[in-house]
């Protein structure tokens, strides 16, 4: 049984796994379709039925003079957009790329506006209610120094 299993390893792994050294850039642009969630370059399945032949094909195609984009376009034509490891930079997919930054900018703008408003309101409240009208600049400076000590 053990011998059979060892033979199975030899058989299953022969010529498989990591035999080809295709250019990393193209392989990284293609998503492996075996369910590993990785790119063709990083797929860790020993005899992956997708990544291994694609790596070989990429190497051959590059050697034959095909450009990276031509190879990618060929795979997209065959498998659809899902073969790309990242969304394209066009149409609806722009939302994927810019959505997070848009949300961040919106958040930053809201935050800045809100903080300004609160700071302004605080200043108004201080001038209306605070005893600072009677405070001398020396007293104010001393207050700042003392508060700084408390805060640090």
């Amino acid at each position: 049984m053990t011998r059979l299993a060892v033979l199975a390893i030899v058989f299953l792994t022969f010529g498989a796994g990591v035999a080809s050294a295709g250019p990393r850039e193209v392989e990284e642009r293609l998503a492996c379709q075996c369910g590993c969630g990785l790119t063709v370059h990083t797929c860790n399945h020993l005899q992956c039925s997708f990544a291994v032949p694609v790596r070989e094909d990429v190497a051959k195609s590059l050697a034959a003079g095909q450009s990276e984009d031509e190879i990618i376009a060929r795979y997209v034509a065959e498998y659809g957009e899902k073969v790309l490891s990242s969304p394209t930079h066009e149409g609806f997919n722009l939302l994927a790329w810019w959505g997070p930054y848009g949300a961040l900018l919106l958040g930053a703008a809201t935050l800045t506006l809100a903080m300004r408003r609160i700071a302004r309101r605080s200043a108004v409240m201080t001038s209306e209610t605070g005893p600072t009208d009677t405070a001398t600049p020396e007293l104010r400076a001393r207050l700042e120094r003392e508060l700084e000590k408390v805060d640090s």
Binding site: M1, T2, A5, V6, A8, I9, V10, F11, L12, T13, F14, G15, A16, G17, V18, A19, A21, R24, E28, R29, A31, G35, C36, G37, L38, T39, T42, N44, L46, G80, E81, K82, V83, S85, S86, P87, F92, N93, L95, A96, G99, P100, A103, L104, G107, A108, L111, T112, M115, R116, I118, A119, R121, S122, M125, T126, L147, E148, D151, S152
Partner: protein, 665 residues
Amino acid sequence: MVIVGNLALHLALGTSLYAVFASVYGAQRRHAAFTASGRHAAFATVGLIAIASAVMVHALVVHDFSIKYVASYSSTTLPLRYRIAALWGGMEGSLLFWVLLLASLTALALVQNRDRNLELMPYVTATCMTVAAFFVSLLVFITPPFAKLAFVPAEGTDLNPLLQNYWMSIHPPSLYLGYVSWTIPFGFAIAALATGRLDDLWIRTSRRWALAAWFFLALGNLFGARWAYEVLGWGGYWAWDPVENAAFMPWLTGTAYLHSVMIQERKDMLKVWNLCLIILTFALTIFGTFLTRSGVISSVHSFTQSGLGPYFLGFLGAVLAVSIALLVRRLGELKPSHRLDSVVSRESAFLFNNLILLGIAFATFWGTVFPVLSEWVRGVKITVGPPFFNQVNAPLGIMLLFLMGVGPIVAWRRATVAKLVRTFAIPTSVGLVAGGIAFALGMRSLSAVLVTSLAAFVLQTIAHEFHRGARARMAMTSDGYLTAMLGLVGRNRRRYGGYVVHLGVVFMFLGVTMSSVYRVEEIHTVKPGASFNVGDFELRYDGVRDLSDDHVARLAADLTVHRDGREIASLHPEKRFYKRPEQPATEVDYRSTLSEDLYVILGSIGEDRSTATFQVYINPLVAWLWIGGVVLVIGTGICVLPTRFRRATERVEDTEAARTRGRLA
């Protein structure tokens, strides 16, 4: 035994539901006997779930293959430690384990607060037991863990070989602890909303719980990364898989929460924001469970995939609806009593830190769900893989690193330009010099130079904070430098523990950036006795050995590693073939040093064992990712250790609690 397990689960459903009812009824009617009864029902739930879990573990240990779960996730040849770990290896078992942790933590929180916060505790009990009741009802009605097979197989299918690993034994428990622990601070937040005690009592009481939850989530993610690094064999540790993202998102929002509560405690601001953050964090833990178990988004973590998605989605909706309704009801009472003195202050630095953390969480969420959105809107399936997440999150991560340096040194309330220049002159110079040195040494990647520069900037600010504090203490106490430093940390555990955590995060940033940008990767096919070079290393392939046993067939390649003509290591990467279920696997081997890891995968073995193909990686500074993790553990430890001198406010709180107790009794 099965009947005992089933009975325990059914009773646990009853006790958890009763705990919800009795706690709320008791609190509403100010009926102490009912709240006590609710508390006891929660304890009973722990006992019953513990019984059900013990029955399951016993069945796994004694190979009771009449139970479907045991037959599916264990075998007679599976080592004992993995038979026990099989409790969380499959869907039903992991749900049972989840509810065991939740009930236990609830009981711990109840014991901890038996004489305190009596006003809040019934609602904490009710919230935690509602969550427990939901999980138990899934176990009772939808996926019973003790379901029997029509026949008893002679052998089990066995645990997935990928899960038969040390790190996998500890990764899920720590991750689950992280997920589950967030229920407690969430419970306190709901209790604050329900009772109208909207000051920072709920935050102070649940602070250690939040820190523990954050810590375990961090640990769970790190253990998972370590497992991926050692087991999956692709030279990396994080693949932005949806389930990884699911655990990362609540950690990010939890980090934001831990920072912003400091402002509420200090300035009585951000009350609504903190409630929103804790609700969001808890909701994300449920969303994570939904992602793991629904199969809506394809993931490598399919071990626990099932048809439970709609139930989790429904529960998530209910959680959000109830929480938001309570929050909206109390909005009028949540006005800040303190004021913001200036937009340029530590308060605003903390707020921008919150913004970036939430930005990363949103980018991660967006990338995770975008394939579903695309299919919905365009009808086109797309993949959002690791390159997207790296590209989108890298700039945000760099901004976060910058703010990590800014936050601790910018003044509270108001920072003047002169003060800013004075404070930032040295750290900025240190950062620029470090970036310059990195560039002069040949570093040409913008992100690597930026991270090096910012890491130096942050490290300087941390070192300066410790130094400044120690000097101030020396002046006060006439202690020596080291004693003053220790005294400083001892008296301000939270602040200095936080700085230590920051130190750990800086190490992680360095490890992740350098190992991603400067990774070397080569493939070599060689005959026994032959050598090949990768970077500065010379590797000699000495041959292959058969290490098979009854459970697994193993072939190990022997490699001797030389550097500068000196033998420095021997590595033994393996190819494995598990017999049940029949599945091949790799076992990588690596030599780890502070400067780099030499990481070797045995790719394939020639037909007559005459050749072997190795995939070799040099991962620079990757050890600092794990060292950063250890530093993070130390920092969190410093934060949570009890301080010798309790704050006066806490003492006042206790007196108040004693009064409330008197009223209730």
